[in-house]
Every structure is written in C-alpha cells, then in structure tokens.
Amino acid sequence: MKKILGILITLVAVYVLTAMVGDNFLSAYNQEKLLERTALFGILSIGVAFVIITGGIDLSIGSVVCLTGCGLPWLMVKHEWPPAIAVPMVLVVAALIGLSHGLLITKLNLQPFVVTLCGLLIYRGLTRGFTEDQTQGFGGEFSGLRAVANEKISLTAEFGIPWTWVILVVIAVMAWIFLNKTIYGRYLRALGNNEDAARFSGVNTDRMIILAYVFSSMLAGLGGMLFVMNVGSAQPSNFGNFYELYAIAAAVLGGCSLRGGEGTILGVVIGAAVMRVLYNMINLVTWIPTHIEFAVVGAVILVAVISDELVKRAAARRRVRG
C-alpha cells in the first residue's frame, strides 16, 4: 500500500482537478470511456511491468500492437480465418516474439534495449509488408467478437462496465497472484533486484527472464487485438506508434523501477489510469490548448516521479536514524 500511495494521490488529484474544471467529466459515458481506455493501455503496461521488474525493457510493444492489430483483421477478413483460429494464432505469434526476445537476451547476452529496439523496427516493417501497407479493418463484420472490446455490462440505464475493463481486472488479478503468491513471482523479483544472487541461489534466471518477455509480448498482442476490435481498423504505418512509451510511462508511474526488482500490479494499473485521465482532461478543459498535451503529460509524470523519490528518501532517512 505504501508503495502505491504516491501514484494513488496523483490519480485522485488529477481526477478531482478535472472533475472541477472539465465539462461533464463525471458523466457516466465519460467514466465508461475512461475505464475502457485505461483497460486497453493498462494491459500493455502490465506486460511491460514484468519485463521492467527483471531490470529489462521492452521497446517493441507498439510494433507488436501494430502486428497483431493489423494481423487479426488481415487473417479474418482477407484470409477468412474464423476468429476461433485467428485469435489463438495471433497470440501464439506474439508469444513466439517474446520467446525470441528472451532467448536473444539470455542466451546471447544481448542488451534488452537493443533487442527490442530492433523488434520495434522489424515487426512494423513486417506488418507493412504482409498487409502491403493497406489499412486493415473488419468492414462492419464480426460485431460478436468486437463486442468484447467495445460493449459493456450495463448496470444502470446510463452506466455499465466495459468488457475490456473486465479483461483487465482478470489479467491484473492473475498477474498479482503470479508475482506475489507463486514461487516464480518471487524468483522474478529476486532476479530483478540482484540477478547474480538469485542465480547463485539456484534460480533458473534465464528461464524467468524469457518468461517475462513472453508475458510482455503476449499482453501486447492481446492489447493490439483489443485495440483494433475497439477502433475498427488499423493502419500498418502508424497503428500503435509510441504505445511502448505509454506503457513504460504507466509502469514507471506505478512504481516500477527501471533498475529492476520493484513494481506492483495495482500501481501499474493506476499509472495507466493517470495517463488516460490526463489525456481526457486536456480535451475536456477548454483553456488547455490541445497541442501542448505532450508537455502536460510529461510534466505530470515527472512531478509524480520526483515526489515519489522524495518520499522514498525521507523514509530511508527516518530508517537510518531509527
């Protein structure tokens, strides 16, 4: 709880501020949309959180989103694969991508930054290749499948819980259990803190690192499919551009240290929520010019990270004295 206090305060602050100065921020529709967007980006962030906890980084997420987001309609519409085959197939491809990252990083000792940076370029290029750079969309079909990403469970006449949010909660709970209640989660955190010590203690560190990259790519793949199901179509040249950075920013906001070892799933989800509320705020608050949005988002993240660091230092100082 202590670890996510800072980010929780940030969320509440941004939320209350926007509710005060934004138009119709608290409307049921807007709240639904915030849940939906937080879910879509949150899934990516949980994925990258696993990698960040091992002390690595995954820059390929945006391109995996592109590959899977374009790949799913490409398989289903152009090649007429049934969803029951296309969806698992896309997930398998995403898993293989993660596996290859993990193998290159552990067995060849390449740097995660380099491996996934190359991934960022390769998967986008491949997608633009097999789609011949054409926009891929569902063409108004598959509304049953797409309902997963753009329908909701109605609670009142006005408000309902988006299905994407349900998916996020399921994934977050599973991720939390994995990280905190299984021995493998323990190993992951141990090696993120101190890879040598974990290895010296008999942990199969390579296997755990590979697993983290597989999780990251699979969740990016799932996210990519949900994005395209939500939006309806995807253009290979820019679908998912910069999404790796949104995911990393949310994970860092949520308390993941890029030095590894630290991170809570709840914090990461809250981090993703902060980002989405910020973007929403920029659109709903009339006096914020929309073209400075990057500056606003960057500044808020920086302030959150700085205050988090100051809180940590104060705690450490108390500890030394005590």
Partner: protein, 333 residues
Amino acid sequence: MKIGTRLILGLLLAAFALSGCGEKGPEKKKYGVVTTGVASFWDICKTGAEHAGAELDVEVEVLFPNDGVEQKSKMEDMLSRGVDGIAAAVIDPVNQSEFFDEVADRVEFITMDTDAPDSKRKVYIGVDNYDAGRMCGQLVKEALPDGGKVVMFIGRLEQDNSKRRRQGVIDELLDRSHDSSRFDVPGEVQKGDKYTVLATLTDEFDRAKGKANAEDMLTKHPDVGCFVGLFAYNPPLILEALKQAKKLNVVKVVGFDEEGPTLQGIIDGTVHGTVVQNPYEYGYQSVKVLHALATGADAEIPENKFINIPARQIRKDNVETFWADLNKKLIGE
C-alpha cells in the same frame, strides 16, 4: 598496388560495358509519384498513375513516405537512381520549398494533391481544398438545416490542404465571403448566426486517439449537432464512437474522402455525405503532364499553373454508382 588499381579499374569498365549490353534500344522514360502517406486514397492515385504509364509506355514508381523527412530521403534516393520527372504531394509547403527547388533544378517537377506555391514546381494538379472544404460545409448545412454545433476532426493541421479544407468548412458555415487566405486559430470557438464551430481536434494519425477525441467531444458537448471528419480515416472512427455511445443519427456525420465505412454509412443513413477528391485523376494527370514536359511536347499548362481536378459531393443518391466505379479503380482495372 598499381596492379591492384588497374585490376579494379578494368573490372569496373567491364561491369559498365556489361550493364550497357542488357539494354535494348533507347531507355524508357521514368517518372516518380510521391505521396504523403499510406491510405487507400493513394492506392487509387497509384492506379491512375500506372494507367497513364501503360498508355504512354513509360515507367512509373509510386512512393509512400510517412513524413517530411522520409519523403525527402526517398526522393533523394529516386534522384540517385535516375528519374526524368517527379510529381509530389507536399507535406510542408513553406519549409520543403527549398528542397523542391533543388529537385526542380535536376528533373521535371510538379506538385499534386497539395501544393508548394513558392517552389519552382512547373504546375500543381489537384483540388482547391478551400473549395472542397466549402462543399463539405454545404453538406453540414444540409444535415443540420436548423443550425447547430459542429466539431471537426483531422489528422494534423500543419499541412496546407488541412488548413484550407478546415477554413472552407468554417467560412461556409459562417456564410463568410470566399477568401482562402483567412485562418482561424484552432483553439477558438467560431460562432455564426446558425452554426457554431466548437473545436478542431488533431490525432497525429493515432486511431485510438482519434476515437478518444470523438468520445471526449461527446462528453464535453452533449448537445453537439454534427461531427466532421476531415481526413479519410476520421469518419469511420467517429462512427465507431457514436455507435458505442448509441448516438448514431443523433449526431450527424459529414466526411471527407471515401473509406469503406464512410460510404457504407451513407448507404445506411448514418453519414449524411462526404466530399471526395479524384485521386485517380491526380495520378493519371501527373504522369501525363510530366511526360509532356520531359519530352518537350505541349503540356497545356494554364496561366495560373493550376490544373483543377474538382471535388465531388457524395450523398445517398449517388453513393452506389460512385462506390462501384471506385472499386474498379482500387483493384487497378
């Protein structure tokens, strides 16, 4: 050392000679057509360019760069490979002019779709986006005969065609005079007698953001009357947002260009209409004009150096014929 140098020289000469052997007769003329991005719009343009190429028996290469930097490097590569003329769609008219002048010094150079009026381009083939914008404004007036609030969505605003297109819509809605040099700051609300233009939102081609923009505007302005999507992919995203909010037909939609969901929307009645350009003609005419310039024939360039390929309004009555014809061009027939 000396022997080595001579050997290399010899090899080079041999290679030169051999490469010449493969050619039969005079070389075909080569032309490049450079777009501003990837879209089905540009595929139709490509079809037009290729048709002209086949008719004239010349080689045509169509490139799809994503931004100004990529466009420049791809055009430079094209020049290095050897080309007789280039037709380019402009991303940034002011800052790219200098580079375009360099291109124009070396090969025949014209602009299409979007113009760089201050460069040494020989001619501009395209639509007057301001006029097209005003046509779009007329569609909004038809959709909202009693007036109302309007929000516009667009990919980015820095390029000339975006600015003029948007200005055309505003001027038409506010019943202003025909003056394409006007520019209203995007952040300001433009209020006329019947119509109020609340905002213009950009998404930098991020589709999730484009959809979120439409959703946020539904939140912020529950009483909005019409959404105008000014880039090809904007109307489909607007439709997705409206569908989930169950506001199809409540908020009117007017579009630009001819993406499938937009045309389907017109058939279904969820989109009032769209303004389409004629990318096929852009491609076709570009190659024809370039070839005339390169071979010294009469290119029939008008005084104002503007070959107008007018835009058209598509409504429920003409959408099906238009779509059938479009599909033929898309598959390159």
